[in-house]
């Protein structure tokens, strides 16, 4: 049997859904309240999960259970508190130390990962024999892939004037980018519609009971 609170939950969900959908008509207090609840609950959730998933298991518990083996964790603990000091203007400068650690490691790792994954591996994947692979569709596709990648990169190369031969190549590059943006638009429309489907599946199914699997 469905409990009272289960039913109440479904109705609360429907109420929240309509509160947000009311924005389609125009901005209104009903929407604004829902929006603020969304922000508040979201921040609360992030706080609770950060405490349970990071601060406790990766800092407090290791220090509490075996201090001598984990004493170095005091460093991120102190730096973490320095990070919170950013909220007070007088102590804001202290947050630069933890920020330095975060930014330095992200920049270092970023250099490694982007060089390997987004440049070398992408170039390697493009260096293929376009005529190797079977039917005319594959040959056409692979030729387009090579041509599109090279001309696309040329389009983004702003150190040379896009005139003459370079201009022609960069123009071809634009066409490839346009097809790519067209595909991206199609996929974006698909994504947004899917989210609406999810909402209506809830309203028509869980709330009104009009959909039966």
């Amino acid at each position: 049997m469905i409990s009272f609170f289960e039913t109440l939950g479904v109705w609360l969900g429907a109420l929240m859904t309509f509160a947000i959908f009311s924005f389609l008509y125009k901005d209104n207090p009903f929407y604004k309240v829902a929006e603020q609840i969304f922000v508040g609950l979201s921040a609360g959730y992030w706080f609770v999960y950060t405490i349970y998933n990071i601060v406790l298991p990766n800092l407090i518990i290791p220090l509490k259970t075996d201090f001598s083996a984990n004493f170095l964790l005091i460093v991120p603990g102190i730096l973490g508190i320095f990070m919170l000091m950013r909220i007070i203007p007088q102590t804001e400068w202290l947050s630069r130390f933890p920020m330095a650690l975060m930014i330095g490691s992200s920049a270092g790792l970023g250099m490694l990962t982007y060089t390997k994954s987004d440049i070398i591996k992408q170039l390697t994947a493009t260096m293929m024999n376009p005529f190797d692979g079977g039917d005319w569709i594959v040959i056409l596709g692979q030729t387009l892939l090579i041509l599109g990648t090279i001309t696309g990169v040329i389009y983004f190369f702003f150190s040379a004037r896009h005139k003459g031969f370079i201009g022609v190549l960069s123009r071809i590059g634009i066409y490839f980018l346009m097809v790519s943006f067209g595909g991206a638009f199609g996929y974006t429309a698909m994504a947004r519609i899917s989210l609406l489907i999810g909402r209506l599946q809830f309203l028509l199914g869980d709330w009104l009971g009009l959909i039966h699997p």
């Binding site: 959730y45 999960y49 998933n53 490694l112 390997k116 595909g183 996929y187 698909m190 519609i193 028509l204």
Partner: protein, 280 residues
């Protein structure tokens, strides 16, 4: 009087979209579902992984993209459980932890009851994105000291023998943005050589597709609700994604019709304006 056509009121467009989605959800049409190469690659990866292998599933999404990604994750997990793989869950997004819990709760309601700790385990969320992934790659147990229950990592049977990322047969990231599947490719595959696959929102699919290449940076990709529907079709268990496919088709048709009307109006008005200009 000018013969210029006024644009449709946006509220009419909203109503059309609403009807286009709502009606096919209630009245099943049953349009065919065709599978695509990228989805087949994901399926083959799960299918070919031996029973008992530990596999890592990363929940890198939240409720805002749930209708697209949740059905993908459910379908893949059902498949992996059927193949008796040990599922280790983690999240790069805080709300991913909840998404994982919800999936296993749903499975339990459906009568699929994997044993927690042995068949699956939820290791929770870790912040830091790519940096954390690099640490996980080198020393899994240093990052994940316990699961969401508070059970120490050494006491979890599903994790026996797992020391680093390379001990997993594959990583499956269900991702709605950053950090997500891109970081998994960059670190998981390109640094630690672990097969990486997964599912993304349709919005991000085009930008992730270049990773599906001969270098096998990404082994296949599920894109949006359609990707989930294809996977549901392949494992023979229709779910919410399959249910949504008719609505997806009709809504797309409405958008295409709107684009055509918008273009006809534009060129018609352009012609009228030119004529009026000439008459003046």
């Amino acid at each position: 009087m000018s013969k210029i056509r006024e644009p449709l009121d946006r509220r009419i467009i909203f109503l059309l979209v609403f009807i286009g989605v709502a009606l096919p959800i209630m009245i099943k049409v049953g349009l065919p579902i065709e599978t695509t190469e990228n989805v087949e690659m994901v399926y083959d990866l799960v299918e070919s992984t031996p029973a008992g292998s530990p596999v890592l599933i990363s929940f890198d999404y939240d409720p805002s993209t749930k209708p697209e990604i949740h059905p993908q994750a459910i379908a893949v997990i059902k498949h992996a459980l059927k193949k008796k793989q040990k599922i280790i869950c983690m999240a790069l997004w805080p709300m991913g932890v909840k998404m994982c819990e919800q999936i296993f709760n749903t499975l339990e309601e459906e009568g699929i009851k994997p044993v927690y700790g042995t068949d699956w385990v939820n290791m929770g969320y870790k912040s830091g994105g790519a940096i954390s992934l690099k640490a996980i790659g080198a020393d899994f147990r240093k990052v994940f000291t316990q699961d969401t229950n508070g059970t120490l990592v050494d006491d979890i049977p599903a994790l026996h023998g797992v020391r680093s990322l390379q001990d997993f047969k594959y990583v499956m990231s269900f991702s709605a943005g950053v950090p997500g599947i891109k970081e998994w490719v960059q670190v998981g595959h390109d640094m630690y050589n672990v097969p990486v696959s997964g599912g993304v929102t349709a919005v991000s699919a085009p930008s992730i597709l270049p990773y599906v290449n001969e270098q096998q940076q990404l082994t296949g990709l599920l894109g949006g609700m359609k990707g989930a529907a294809e996977y549901e079709f392949m494992i023979g268990v229709p779910g919410t994604a399959t249910q949504g496919m008719d609505a997806q088709s009709f809504a797309h048709l409405i958008i295409i019709i709107l684009i055509i009307i918008g273009n006809i109006n534009y060129f018609y008005n352009k012609k009228i304006l030119a004529l009026e200009e000439a008459q003046k």
